[in-house]
Symmetry: C2
Subunit: 182 residues, 2 copies
């Protein structure tokens, strides 16, 4: 199966899942076509459809959003653009003086093989930290504390994060489904 | 010609331009398919292409971005999502303590008729105000001061804004081109 991603961190996180299911993967960095939608399921499905038109072989592609309650769901599915521009310090500045720090990380993983497109969602509720902390992971990991934790994703070890993360949940559901239908 | 927009403010701004060129318009609110790109030209062209597939008649559609230098181009082509979530107060919070307030408003207006897709760009350089001011217009108008002005777009009268705006420039270019080729 082809995994479409240009992000080495993501790949590191999901590769072991595919191995556990005995699925050999290849990586493609074909440009991800992204529709502008606030729904990561829509983004992932359309991206899978578009990537299949180029690669013409079974593939998976994912999209992740971070939804902060006090900011009306910002940055949502635009998480990567927001990370590239205002970054974690921008998010913390927006959250200054705000006590409700609830946030939800959502990954949609979509599979396409020319006949089917299937999308699976993994969520991780949590909160935005008061300051960035930790060096593991990438993106919002230094400012996101998942439910049941006192540490940010970036303070958890790689294997601790991967054991619980939104992305793991999405890909685990996808692979369970794939096991049943293949 | 069909103007695809669900925004009555935009329509009010551009309708007189079409009338000046003797072009009768119809308005369609068909859903705008938006690709996730930081380039308004790409967004407008793809949206025009997609709308043509639905409407099958000559049409125009536009996309507008606001690029703030000190925020690495944020909110860019995601201006409408950012407006809906963190809004002008969010932008001002991000700009607290920042002296370089340079910003650029960019509209891309795209025309599609099944054979051609043409896009035209209008820009308006300016700066982000220290506080929102004024009641005219919509979106970022209360916090955007265009070059050569002391007032925000929202403090200018409707006709003053329309005379200079990024959106007017884009549609004026499009209509000049249309006059030459039709």
């Amino acid at each position: 199966m082809i995994v479409v991603t240009g992000n080495p961190h993501k790949l590191l996180e999901i590769r072991p899942l595919f191995e556990k299911h005995g699925i050999r993967i290849e990586v493609s960095q074909v440009d991800k076509m992204e529709v502008k939608s606030d729904d990561v399921v829509v983004v992932a499905r359309e991206a899978a459809k578009a990537a299949y038109r180029v690669l013409k072989r079974p593939l998976v592609i994912d999209d992740t959003g971070l939804y902060i309650s006090a900011l009306s769901g910002f940055p949502g599915a635009y998480a990567s653009f927001v990370q590239k521009t205002i970054g974690n310090l921008g998010i913390l500045k927006l959250m200054e003086g705000i006590t409700d720090r609830t946030a939800n990380f959502v990954t949609a993983a979509a599979y396409a093989d020319g006949k089917n497109i299937e999308a699976f969602v993994g969520e991780m509720p949590g909160r935005i930290a008061l300051a960035p902390s930790g060096r593991e992971g990438f993106g919002y990991d230094p400012i996101f504390i998942c439910d049941g934790e006192m540490r940010t994703y970036a303070e958890m070890s790689f294997s601790e994060k991967v054991a619980v993360s939104h992305r793991t949940k999405a890909f685990a559901s996808l692979l369970d489904w794939y096991d049943r239908v293949r």
